[in-house]
């Protein structure tokens, strides 16, 4: 069971009217269904649950961390180090959490879902490791086989479990699984372990000792290529052929004829196809068969020859009835070194862009990807990253990761981010602050203004005027600041006191944002001065407020009323100082007198006659 991305779920969809059909369009995480006149073939809807699974969340977060680290690495570092970054993690993420999940899975359905997910994850790991071996490590002939052996061993760990089961039993050599374990080890080329196991059998059959000794010698003499050594590939090839001929001689001589197990091992060592195919259950997969066959027939296989063997092995291994699964096609494309085909197949088979996006990015950084430009401008790497990040943005929590991905898409990343970031729901002020920080760091002033306005409106609705004012100050939104200052002043008129004194007192340079705000700040200052009994300064300030024309019309009455007590003071507060012009003084005195008169008149008029 691999990569059956068909996890179907039936949904109830409201009825479509007569004569119309249902159409659909894919979104990043879901599907839109609509009514239409046009007819198309029927498809079942599918819900993308992957993004919500806790295991996958860890994967997304870890890979995000690595992705960001990868982008900032300098060009001249060798590609090996890049691969190291990636290699570190997937295994640990998968296995430590698989245990965790098994403890908690309850219903059969969750178990099935879980197993599906696990199988997909394991398949992803398999593909990823193969891509590392073939594309990034790019091993030449000789080392290639060794890497492929490692790859197969990594993904067939059940051998060790069975081996330990056998070895811990009372009499290992008589365990029913004993020979299966031995043969499995041979198939994986782990000849040291084979020899250790065979010793136990040899001890049980002293009569056949010489035969076991002979097998042991054969096994110990099998040459393995040493990439760091002084031996060239040709020398190794010669040596290997000698050994191969020796094994063949043993078989022809019927040295092992009396022991069918040893004879079997001998045939495997010769790479006999029929014998190998007899042990399909032990091999498990066609790619194991491929690697084993290469090990015992063509250990000096070159990368360019790989796909011939891959194709033929797959054909031989799979029954004529069975159809290759998506995983098989992907692996085959990898063996053919067709990177684009690998990416294409993965995109189709997996319903989440995570894998292809990161793989393409890594290959791009290793300069392995000839990016042909797609006809809407961006290249393949960017396209995949954009798709992946857009999918992340639909998640209520993982949207923060997406920001970094957009940052590293030079062509369209910024535009995508601008469109998406405004749609993040802002439930608390803290979240709004984080979103704002993201926008401000990237100079997205439109979005900053928009977010601040949302928060300010919300505050206003709850009558939190101070909060609303700070949001509009942050956005440098003059119009809104004016609106809120008006509200403040209206409040003052209604209640006689100010709310949020703290904020107004400490506006600082922000006061200059809007005229009304300046007036508010200065007016408050006037009150403060008055409260501190610094009447002369207060009077001066009030005068400047009146003459500066920044007071709103509705407020003039209040200003005049405030002037009243000052006018009544014994001292003439408004006497100008020596520096000022006589003319100006006259005008001011005149104004003052008029104001006084007007004030008294209004007071008289407004007085209710009792």
């Amino acid at each position: 069971v691999f990569l059956s991305s068909s996890f179907f779920k039936l949904q109830n969809i409201p009825a479509i009217s007569d004569g119309k059909h249902m159409g659909f369009a894919w979104g990043p995480g879901d599907i839109l269904v609509y009514e239409t006149r046009y007819k198309a073939p029927c498809i079942l809807s599918q819900k993308d649950e992957d993004i919500y699974s806790p295991i996958l969340r860890k994967l997304f977060n870890e890979s995000h961390h690595i992705f960001v680290g990868l982008q900032t690495i300098r060009e001249d570092l060798p590609s090996k180090i890049n691969a190291q970054l990636v290699r570190k993690n997937p295994h640990s993420v998968f296995y430590s959490d698989i245990h965790f999940i098994t403890l908690f899975s309850c219903t059969i359905l969750t178990l099935i879902c879980f197993l599906l997910k696990v199988s997909i994850l394991l398949a992803i790991e398999l593909i990823w490791n193969l891509c590392e071996v073939l594309f990034i490590d790019a091993a030449p002939a000789g080392s290639l086989l060794l890497h492929l052996l490692d790859w197969v061993r990594l993904h067939k760990a059940d051998v060790d479990e069975r081996a330990s089961e056998v070895l811990q039993s009372e009499s290992p050599a008589e365990h029913r699984d004993y020979w299966n374990v031995v043969v499995s080890y041979v198939l994986q080329g782990r000849l040291e372990e084979v020899r250790q196991m065979l010793v136990k059998q040899a001890n049980l059959q002293p009569a056949a000792r010489s035969m076991y000794k002979q097998m042991d010698t054969l096994l110990s003499k099998m040459p393995f290529y040493n990439p760091g050594g002084t031996q060239t590939l040709t020398e190794f090839d010669v040596k290997w052929r000698h050994w191969h001929e020796e094994v063949d001689r043993c078989l022809q001589d019927n040295s092992f004829a009396s022991n069918r197990h040893l004879e079997l091992i001998c045939k495997i060592l010769l790479g006999d196809e029929d014998t190998l195919l007899d042990h399909k259950e032990l091999l498990g997969t066609w790619y194991h068969f491929l690697v084993t066959r290469l090990l015992f027939c063509h250990p000096t296989v070159k990368p360019t020859e790989l796909h011939y063997y891959a194709q033929s092995c797959m054909t031989m291994f799979l029954d004529s009835r069975s159809v290759p699964e998506p995983l098989d096609n992907i692996l085959l494309a990898a063996f053919e070194f067709d990177i684009h085909q690998v990416i294409k197949e993965c995109s189709i088979a997996l319903n989440n862009w995570w894998f292809v996006a990161h793989l393409t990015d890594l290959l791009d950084h290793c300069k392995l990807l000839q990016s042909h430009n797609l006809h809407f401008g961006s290249n393949l790497r960017e396209f995949l990253l954009l798709e992946y990040a857009s999918g992340l943005f639909t998640h209520h929590s993982l949207w923060q990761l997406a920001v970094d991905y957009f940052d590293h898409c030079p062509e369209f990343g910024r535009v995508y981010l601008e469109l998406q970031i405004e749609r993040v729901p802002l439930e608390t002020e803290r979240k709004a602050l984080k979103v704002l920080r993201i926008c401000e760091q990237r100079q997205m002033s439109e979005q900053v203004r928009s977010i601040c306005k949302i928060m300010a409106m919300r505050a206003l609705r709850n009558n939190r005027l101070g909060s609303a004012l700070s949001w509009s100050i942050r956005a440098k939104d003059a119009a809104f600041a004016t609106l809120i200052s008006e509200r403040f002043l209206q409040d003052y008129c209604a209640k006689g006191t100010f709310s949020d004194l703290d904020l107004i007192d400490n506006l600082g340079p922000a006061m200059l944002l809007s005229d009304r705000l300046t007036f508010l700040g200065k007016y408050r200052e006037f009150h403060k001065l008055y409260g501190e009994k610094r009447f002369r300064e207060a009077a001066k300030l009030l005068l400047s407020l009146m003459t500066a024309k920044i007071a709103p019309q509705s407020f003039w009455m209040t200003l005049l009323t405030d002037a009243l007590p000052l006018l009544e003071q014994k001292e003439v507060m408004f006497l100008s100082l020596q520096e000022e012009d006589v003319e100006v003084t006259k005008v001011e005195l005149l104004r003052l007198a008029l104001a006084r008169n007007l004030a008294q008149a209004i007071v008289k008029e407004g007085t209710v006659e009792t």
Binding site: P54, I55, R57, K58, N61, E62, H64, H65, V68, G69, T72, I73, R74, S92, V93, Y95, S96, H99, F100, H396, S397, Q400, L401, E427, T428, E429, R430, K431, L433, K434, R437, Q441, R458, R461, N462, N463, R464, L465, G466, S467, L469, S470, S499, D500, L501, D502, L503, N506, L507, G508, A510
Partner: protein, 352 residues
Amino acid sequence: MESINAKYVSQKISKTKWRPVSHSDLQLPEIFATGSWDNEDNRISIWSIGSNLSTSMEDGFEGDPQLICEHKHDGDVLDLQFLDQDRIVTASSTGAVTIFRHHQNSQTISVSQLWARAHRYPCDNAPCTGVVCSSPEIVTVGEDGRIVVFRADQEGVVRVIGELKKSLMDCLTFDRESQTVGLQTAKSGDRVPLHCVDRHPNQQHIVATGGQDGMLCVWDVRQGNTPFSLMEAHTAEMWEVHFHPTNPDHLFTCSEDGSLLHWETSSHSDMPSFLQGGRNSSMVSRSAMAPAGGKQPLISAWLSGDSSKGRLETTHMLPSQTLSVNSLDVLGPCLVCGTDGEAIFVNRQVPV
């Protein structure tokens, strides 16, 4: 310093707190609690780093935090405090204040008490943004500007300390001796909103604050309205600042820019260099581990007038840049922090 590794936990962590250890035992802290945010199902979780916990899980290395138990939490966890060894108080974005009880023998958590609308607007929910407690009293503050006092085990509100017309959320410290709540509302020279405050454990007049611009300010509350020293600490909002409880020459700050800084002052005089006038301290910064991608210049040296009377050293505590570090807590030699990258970092050998 031992290398510090990330534990990925599939939830963005908004708060982490060590469970208090009784001083008589001289034990190292073992248990910490975390709260998540921005999830559809938020949770509070309790973790252990002790080695006496039997686990059947494969770990990367010893000391990896293990989840003991967790409980669903309605709304983002905006603040979290241990009321005592068994009880945790949380402040929620729905305006609720909840007390959870951790049952140690069954390793479960249950809700012990809930005040659902502790903070509210007339028509909306108002997030409760801070909680501080000194058993059995709990004081909370919210976006609606009210400070409310509760008593554990009592149903209703004990009293509401004034309607503050606060423009932005603030932070509380609790002064046990005088049974008052000190609400730090002072603003720095540039009138920047504050996000966090902490009081020196021994010298109660020394207060450190951090705000929206990432500057670390140290105040002497006896003297005036301007900070004693101002240091550029982070490039984005500073979320938390903590003096080390037993070794207050050490200070820790964490920020939206993804870094966690350890400040260590070593002065030759008795007074910590904070109080010798910030303008005279010079700062030396070094990275404990070079982040991937090379060196990063940390902090500009503060204005140095005369020769410095004290030295202040700053260290990055996280190996590489992460998403925002939302919370940190330090107790003894152990430090825990949580990030928006859904990771928890635990360092058991903080050099204090």
